[in-house]
Amino acid sequence: MFYREAGQFKTSYQADNQIFPIRQDRIGIAIVLIAAFVAVPGLATDYAFSAIFIPFLIFSLAALGLNILTGYAGQLSLGSAAFMAVGAFASYNFVLRIPGIPVLLAFVLGGLSAAMVGIAFGLPSLRIRGFYLAAATLATQFFVVWCLTKIQWFTNYSSSGVITAQEMVILGIAINTPVKKYLLTLTVVCVMAMLAKNMVRSNVGRSWMAVRDMDVAAEVIGFRLMRTKLLAFAVSSFYCGIAGALYAYAYLGTVEPEAYNLDLSFRILFMIIIGGVGSILGSFLGSAFIILLPIVLNLIAHSLSLPTNVASNLELMVFGALIIFFLIVEPHGLARLWQITKEKLRLWPFPH
């Protein structure tokens, strides 16, 4: 009844090519954006910002990056945390070494550095695929973290190997409270999600999907395999790099290379599996799920007064079980559930 597009005619190509061609979607997105930009900053507490909203947005961005690579271009990667690390440490160094550089520019440069590393480690994907590639991306993970730990120039010779993110000042406004950090992160994520949404429905995205579905066939019909794959690696690492920089600057403040370990890579992978592989919305849903799950489990464990180590082991088990559950029951993740809901709503209240 409420979600029916009957009567919404498109009379121009422009109207037909909108990102959200259905009016209800546009209204829905507007409500979500208003809520995110206006209602949340007004209502949420500082704790909620730093424990839920900011990490949620940052992980969404990282998941978006991995989703571009794995979901759209079909290159399984276990090294996304490494690209986040490159983004964070590169941004830190750009701010440190170039006096007066705008912090957002440093983020972009950090993202570009991550993209460069992504291209370098994406090169093997031209020859190897599937599991071999997944295992090979672990090389990125271990090598990058090792580099950042051992080469002290990256951490500005800090004795503990830990960097402290510099204060962010954008247009004369110091970004130092959780609300401001949240708004900054939200803006960055919105812009980049919009870009990603457009990218995957343009010719770039279509070439990725062709390579994902069958790379040999894609090559035969004229897609340039090397360019397409490396572009996917570059764009994906760029997203992860920006997410990593935000992780250091807006979320943690002080960060060591070990924060970007294999565990983080796995968590990002889980986000896209649970959220939906090959879906922009899925990255957000998956990230929300993975952020909220431990909090909810903790609350439950707390109310049952379980000892902490039992609770943390149960958390591992629930995590693992959920991954398997999702793969069996709904391989397309939460995003697919949302899609089904929309299809049902279209018919509602009549069943057919």
Binding site: P124, R127, I128, A136, A139, L316, V318, I323
Partner: protein, 298 residues
């Protein structure tokens, strides 16, 4: 020069241990087309269960090992029933990700059952240098490592025979090629998967006992799986000899690199050197040393 050989042989022997874990991977991959990321967790689980049994119920090791074996078989069958059966004929990547989920589950389960503190595991094999080698070549070679290598060799021979000579072996290879086709010609897929996972559980137990006796039974045991991955890449995912040769190459080159290149770049390169080595090798031969040539058609 004798120092070089000592490092080299030490590397080879630790390579045997990597090979043992890699073997578990190869076994399952070869027989079911599942790349089992949970192998490391199974090694951890097996070792922890064995130690837990001896400590909690004060039983002897000789009783605990067969009991653990039973537990591993049960675990294997449960995995087949709960995880794999619903995923028959899904893309390999889906199965792979399911085993990542499995990894977390088993790690949580193991620590929930037996606690997360490290344990000491003593096997009735002494970790002492063999005198013969000291007298003859002036090299330290541990008796423990040599016996581990022998056990590994025995295991590999057995598995190789199982794969090539028996009816089950043929069925295993058929299943690995194509689930659906195997089902269609009347191969009992569930039975085969049950067998494979049980055998993989057995290999995990052997690996877990040997590694556990060497480094203590603790969570770090799961990282052994990460060491086995470059071995697999190098040797080829489908090859038992590949796992062995790959293990030896990785073990030896890793120790040599740590000793000779490590000091030049700040040390700790053991963590990534095997991966980079395997990666470079893949650029030359994408299917690994002994892997099957991948032929792709449209």
């Amino acid at each position: 020069m004798s120092f070089f050989f000592e490092v080299f042989i030490g590397g080879l022997l630790s390579g045997v241990m990597y090979a043992l874990v890699a073997l578990g991977f190869v076994l399952i991959y070869k027989a079911s087309g599942v790349f089992n990321f949970a192998q490391g967790a199974m090694v951890f689980f097996a070792a922890l269960t064995c130690v837990g049994l001896t400590e909690k119920f004060e039983m002897s090791l000789w009783l605990a090992i067969p009991l653990t074996m039973l537990v591993m078989v049960a675990l294997g069958l449960a995995i087949e029933r709960v995880v794999l059966r619903p995923l028959v004929n899904q893309p390999e990547i889906t199965l792979f990700m399911a085993t990542i989920g499995l990894t977390f589950f088993i790690e949580g389960l193991a620590q929930l059952l037996w606690g997360s503190q490290p344990h000491k595991l003593t096997l009735p094999i002494d970790d002492v240098p063999i005198e013969y080698f000291i007298e003859k070549f002036n090299i330290l070679v541990s008796q423990f490592d040599v016996i581990a290598a022998l056990i590994c060799a025995l295991l590999v021979t057995g598995l190789a025979l199982l794969f090539s000579k028996t009816k089950i072996g043929r069925a295993l290879r058929a299943v690995a090629d194509d689930h659906q086709a195997a089902l269609a010609v009347g191969i009992p897929l569930q039975q085969i998967w049950g067998i494979v996972w049980a055998v993989a559980g057995f290999v995990a137990l052997v690996a877990g006992l040997l590694w556990g006796a060497r480094n203590g039974v603790q969570f770090a045991l799961t990282f052994v799986a990460l060491k086995a991955l470059p071995v697999l890449i190098l040797g080829g995912f489908t090859s038992v000899p590949g796992a062995i040769v790959g293990g030896l190459i990785i073990g030896a080159s890793e120790k040599l690199a740590e000793v000779y290149i490590g000091p030049l770049v700040g040390g700790g390169i053991e963590g990534w050197f095997p991966y980079v080595l395997a990666l470079l090798f893949l650029l030359v031969r994408p299917e690994g040393l002994f892997g099957e040539k991948i032929i792709r058609r449209i």
